[in-house]
Symmetry: C2
Subunit: 235 residues, 2 copies
């Protein structure tokens, strides 16, 4: 996506810095500020981690100018007030529309204190709602930017990684089992009378551990050492 992140009248340098850092985290570069509080903008420029984004950030006198070159203007909001005039998409769906947009897109965030005004919203094609649990609790600006940008880059098809560890061969597992059984017999844990059913319990237990090939030698070493200890003549 050819995205411009647009902050309207941000007041807090920490929030401007946090927005820029989230952009750096998720690989976006164009930051535009509409009437930022001068001091906030100056202080934000010294923020860690996103210096190049902040140095290149552009300042505009109006939202109309800031979004002038964009083919889609989407407003982000966590609250539900004042939105009846505009189509409102959940973030998941809005992000899809943004990703499908070939031309430049502006993603507009309102000020910390007031959010997007009706005037700001009138420049937006539609609004996108971060699906928060509580309509009345606004989101922190830096966190809202992070969540929206994350949604833009997330991969719907991502699957759990299979554990990268190669499982131990059955023969290694069985060797571990036999050594463990011997050890438990030596320790007195296994009662020779009920040995058969106990053996099966232990065998199943060892299988449930999903022992990795690379861990087998260490486990065997531990058991051999214990056995040696049990069988060694007492001093």
């Amino acid at each position: 996506v050819d995205l411009r992140v647009v902050l309207v009248a941000p007041r807090n340098p920490l929030n401007i810095g946090a927005a820029a850092r989230a952009m750096a985290n998720f690989g976006f570069t164009t930051l535009r500020l509409v009437n930022p509080y001068e001091l906030a903008f100056r202080e934000a420029r010294s923020a860690v981690g996103a210096a190049s984004i902040l140095a290149a950030a552009e300042e505009f006198g109006s939202l109309a100018q800031a979004v002038g070159d964009c083919e889609l203007v989407a407003g982000a909001t966590a609250a539900a007030r004042r939105q009846l005039q505009h189509p409102l998409h959940r973030l998941e769906a809005g992000a899809q529309l943004i990703r499908n947009q070939p031309g430049p897109v502006a993603l507009v965030f309102g000020s910390e204190k007031f959010g997007l005004s009706n005037e700001d919203m009138s420049h937006c094609h539609w609004l996108m709602r971060i699906p928060t649990a509580d309509f009345n609790l606004s989101m922190n600006l830096g966190q809202a930017v992070a969540v929206c940008l994350y949604e833009l880059i997330r991969e719907p098809g991502a699957q759990p990684q299979p554990g990268r560890r190669k499982p131990a061969k059955a023969s290694d597992i069985e060797q571990i089992t036999r050594l463990l059984l011997e050890t438990l017999t030596e320790s007195g844990y296994l009662n020779p009378v009920t040995a058969e059913s106990s053996e099966q319990k232990i065998r199943r237990l060892v299988r449930r551990f999903d022992i990795a090939a690379e861990d087998a030698p260490m486990i065997l070493g531990i058991l051999r050492q214990a056995l040696w200890r049990f069988r060694a003549p007492r001093a």
Copy 2:
């Protein structure tokens, strides 16, 4: 999900407050802190918007204690260092595993400065990586918590809302078209010689506007007024 958000050694009251606010935003309530800097914790408790979560936050002397009652312990990270010992899932996939977990789950975040230590990680079943663009730029703690919690509550199937505006009937659109054509003829924009092809262009243009039913009367009013003006005898 029965989730506990666990922050290890957080130093900055703003970050503790931001984590709690993100929890409130996305509907989670159980916050646990492992060895927080006393002052940071005390200051965070006065944060806006998430007072009840912070008031109920529990303090622990070790990560082992903080995750003791959990059946799954997942560590969150944005960096890629030091993770070779652990299965590493992308956030999208890890969140799926967490949602599928019936018992209580701990989601563990490292300190702002150092992230999760190897010792911290050794308490985790696996790690979950926020898919940032740059491995070397860590995420802000409050933003990382917000992004992870958002991923846990997002709805994969969310579809763009159809515009809630009812489209105008074809007869209204046609009435608008006729009035516009009359107006353009009166204004001299339409040349009577080439009128037919121009008419079709105008007709298609009006259809592309996707005029809503509720907007039709205003547009008709605008055109009627213009026509009246053109046709009125000059003073």
